[in-house]
Each structure stands twice: as C-alpha cells, then as structure tokens.
C-alpha cells in the first residue's frame, strides 16, 4: 500500500467536490460538493494515520472530528435552507446573496 494512491484519490474527491461547491446554484447541491470535499479529507486522514503514524490513535481521532464536521455541516445546512426557503421561498445561492453584510 503506498500513500500516494490514497492521497491521489483524496485529491480527486476534494477537487470534484470543489467543482460542485463552486458551480452549483442550489444550496442543497452545493452542500453535496462540500460533503465530497470532506470525504476527500477523511480519506487523506485515514491514509496518513495508517501509513505515516499508525502508532498513535490521534489520526483516528481526527477522522472522527471530520465525520462530526460533516454531520454538523449537513444538519445546519438543511436547517438554514429550510429557514430561508420558508422566509423567502428561494433555494438558490444567487438569490440569497443579500444575506451577506
């Protein structure tokens, strides 16, 4: 098992996710992009833990943190989408830009 293989796959997942996060209009689709990016991070973390420092459990702790981040991101994303959708009837990022500032 060489680490390059896993990192390359992780880079692929991260980039595909980034394409989604940047190009999608719908908030829900955008979140799928973010999830995919986190997926890449998860894989890279797993590879680093096993193939660089398998002796300590810290790598696995990091994986748990990534999983929790994904869950929180998803839950809050849906909550915000629901709130915006109810208040404004939009689910597209372009139409919700005035949220900034």
């Amino acid at each position: 098992m060489n680490i390059e293989l896993f990192l390359l796959v992780a880079a692929g997942l991260f980039s595909v996710g980034m394409f989604g996060a940047l190009s999608q209009q719908s908030i829900v689709m955008l979140m799928m992009g973010l999830e995919l990016m986190a997926n890449g991070v998860l894989l890279a973390g797993g590879a680093f833990w096993r193939l660089v420092s398998p002796g300590s459990p810290d790598g696995q702790v990091l994986l748990l943190v990534v999983l929790v981040v994904m869950a929180v991101e998803m839950a809050m994303g849906f909550a915000v989408t629901s709130a915006i959708f109810r208040a404004r009837d939009v689910d597209l990022t372009d139409t919700a830009t005035d949220l900034k500032g």
Binding site: S82, F85, R86, D89
Partner: protein, 412 residues
C-alpha cells in the same frame, strides 16, 4: 411436462385475490371474503401481487374502464372473475385457478397484451421489462389459441376471460403513457395535473402547507378500485408528501342499489343480528386499514358466523369485543383521529362493538344511526390528515358510504 404441470398447479394452488366492488356488490363480496378466509387464499392490496381479479357486483358508468386498467396491471399468470349474486362464487374462483395453471391460456394472454402494446406505435417502450416474459409464446401466430374456458356458461355469473374483445383496447394506454389527468386510479403511477413535460411527466405545482414551506403537491386519486374501501368511492386528493391538502369526493356506484343489496343479504336474519352484521363488516374494514390482521380475521369469522347462524356466535363476539377493546395500542393509535359527531376513530369502533354485542345479546336495535350524509362531510374531515389517518376516517364512515346503514328490516 407432467412435473412442470404439477409444480405449476402447486404454485397456483392458493392464488392471491384482488377484490374490486361495483354496484350491488355486497353478497358476492361477502362470499369471496368468506371463501378466501376458509381456503387460505390471500386477499391482497394491489395488482402487483394479485393473480385473480375478482369483480363483485355490476360495473356501470366509468367503472369498467377502471377495472380494465387495473386488469392490465396484473403481472400474470392471471385470471379474471366477475361475480353477481351470491351463488356460484366457489365454482368461479376454482375455475379461475385452473386458468392460472393453464399454460396455453396464459401464453395467449401474453401474446394479446404484447400485440396490443406493439400496436400503439410511437410509444416509449424503453422502460418495458420483457425479461420475465415467456418468449416462446411470442411467435407470430395469426390468431389466439381458442380459449377452452371462454364459452363455459356458469349460472349466476360470467367468467370474463381477458380475450373478450376489449372496448378500450384502442385508446387505453395505461401503464404505458401518461394518464388522463383525472384518472382516479392509485395504481396507475403518478398522476399529476398541471404542466405537461416531454417524458409524459408533469412538473408538480406548489401550494401552501401547514409548515409554511409551500412544497410540491401531487394529485393522487384513491379508489374506486381499492381494497378495504367503500364501493365506488373516489377521493381525489392533493397530497403534499403524504398529507392531504385538498379532497374531492365522488361516488361512482348507486348507493341505493347497494342498500337494496344489503337488505337482500340480510333478509333472513333477525333485525338485531342484521345490525350487528353490518357493524362487524365495517369493523373488518376499519381493522384492515388500521393494520391488525389478527383481529380483522377474527372479526370476519364472527361476521360470517352471524350471517350463517352457525356456532356459538355470542361467545365469539364477546371474545372479539374484549380483544379489540382491550388493545391499548389500537386505542392509542386511533384516539384523536377525528371523525364526525364528536367521535374519534377510537370511539367509533368502540360504539360499533358495543352496539353489536347488545344487539346479539338482547336483541335490542342500536338507538343511534351513523351520519347519513357522510359523502358531504368527507372532504372537510380529510384535509390536514395524512394518508393513514384519511383511510381510517373513510373507514369509520363505511356504514353510510357503502349503503350498509339500512334501517332494520322490520321497519321496511
């Protein structure tokens, strides 16, 4: 060949029945339900799991078209039986079972369906699954093999083999293309009124809802060909998820004819026993919709025993009553599902059972009658409830909706 034939007969020994009601359906329906319970032939909820389509009563108005469309959704091997009156149902059902195992007949059936589908040129066949079909039956023979059962005359009813010329064959394209927007057939796939889309699908419309989200709505008709459902009733619902937002109610059968049929069915019974029978029959449906097969079958047993005046009916009825009234789960699940007259579903089945017990024990007729104009009350009751609650509510109005609210025979 002998072995395959044997296997085939074994596999179809207890065919699944899908019962559809038309006008004056009471006696044939009661006969079929009794036969099915005693012989262990399952009654199923939809065409996908059905082998025999049983039509009880007369089909009038738009009903034949619904039934034909339903028939097309039976996967096959399949057979179709039409029952009128209360005699001969056993022979008809056994005859239908023979047809199921008759490979020649079933091949001809496939050929017919396939040819008709092919006739409708220019249609999307991509989604058609031909995998399970018997291709050997698809050779280009000029005519259908003569059906050995087609000419057999059975008194009191007619077998309807599928190769009687189908008046709708030319234009009925259900299962293949978009349904007309007001087809009240819950089995026909999504029926979406509104904007037409190229694939024969429609973009859903949106409407306000109780969560303030204004989500998509979908028009879904329930009935008239639905199990455990009042004969000929069509409730066209606008659903959001599974919450009813709008409801329109029609009755496609003549309820007065059904009422007369009920009288006929109950003619030999004491008035009080007759009152108990109709309540137990309604209870059967309520329990079926509430998803309690054990109590439903028990209730069917008591009803059938009352109808034929066999066995120690009073004891059976008391046992049933205790079982149902003691069930905390059933009470918990039906309390607060509003029906009319300040009764919820839990109060309604309790009253039915109490009235039935009193009627059988003491011969006293129930003092109260269920609401006579249920059809008009229905839409308001359904709006805001989910599909499960809506089905329960419809089931509690069974007596009025199916014409079982006959006044005691003595007063006629």
């Amino acid at each position: 060949m002998g072995l395959t034939d044997g296997l085939r007969r074994f596999a179809t020994a207890r065919p699944h029945l899908l019962v559809v009601e038309g006008t004056a359906s009471v006696r044939p329906r009661l006969a079929v339900e009794r036969f099915a319970r005693e012989q262990g032939w399952p009654l199923v909820d939809g065409p996908a799991d059905a082998d025999i389509l049983v039509v009880a009563g007369r089909l009038e108005g738009p009903l034949p078209e619904y039934v034909d469309r339903l028939w097309e959704q039976l996967p096959g091997p399949r057979a179709r039986v039409h029952l009128r009156g209360d005699d001969g149902s056993t022979r008809a059902l056994l005859g239908a079972r023979r047809i199921l195992a008759d490979i020649g007949y079933q091949r001809a059936d496939i050929r017919r369906t396939t040819r008709r589908d092919a006739d409708m040129g220019g249609m999307d066949m991509g989604g058609m699954d031909m995998g399970g079909m018997d291709m050997s039956g698809m050779t280009m023979e000029p005519a259908d093999t003569p059906d050995p059962h087609a000419g057999r005359d059975m008194s009191g009813m007619t077998m309807e083999p599928a190769d009687t010329p189908d008046p709708h064959a030319g234009h009925d394209m259900s299962g293949m293309t978009m349904e007309p927007a007001d087809t009240p057939d819950p089995h026909a796939g999504h029926d979406m009124s509104g904007m037409d889309m190229p694939a024969g699908l429609a973009m859903a419309e949106r409407a306000p809802d109780r969560d303030g989200l204004k989500l998509d709505v979908l028009t879904v008709p329930w009935g008239p060909v639905l199990t455990w459902w009042p004969a000929g009733l069509v409730v066209t619902t606008v659903l959001q998820g599974d919450v009813v937002q709008e409801a329109r109610v029609e009755q496609l059968v003549d309820v007065d004819a059904n009422r007369a049929e009920w009288r006929e069915a109950l003619a030999d019974l004491e008035p009080a026993v007759a009152a108990a029978v109709v309540r137990l029959d309604a209870l059967v449906r309520l329990l079926a919709v509430a998803g309690w097969d054990g109590a439903r079958l028990q209730s069917q047993q008591v009803r059938d025993a009352l109808l034929s005046s066999t066995g120690d009916v009073a004891v059976q009825l008391h046992r049933l009553s205790r079982k149902v009234l003691r069930s905390r789960t059933l009470r918990q699940m039906t309390t607060g599902v509003r029906t009319t007259r300040e009764e919820d579903v839990a109060a309604r089945y309790r009253r039915w059972l109490d009235e039935a017990v009193v009627a059988v024990d003491s011969g006293n007729l129930p003092a109260t009658a269920d609401e006579p104009h249920a059809v008009h009350l229905l839409p308001a009751l359904l709006i805001g409830s989910d599909v499960a609650a809506a089905r329960l509510i419809v089931a509690t109005l069974e007596l009025a909706l199916s014409g079982a609210d006959v006044r005691p025979v003595a007063s006629v």
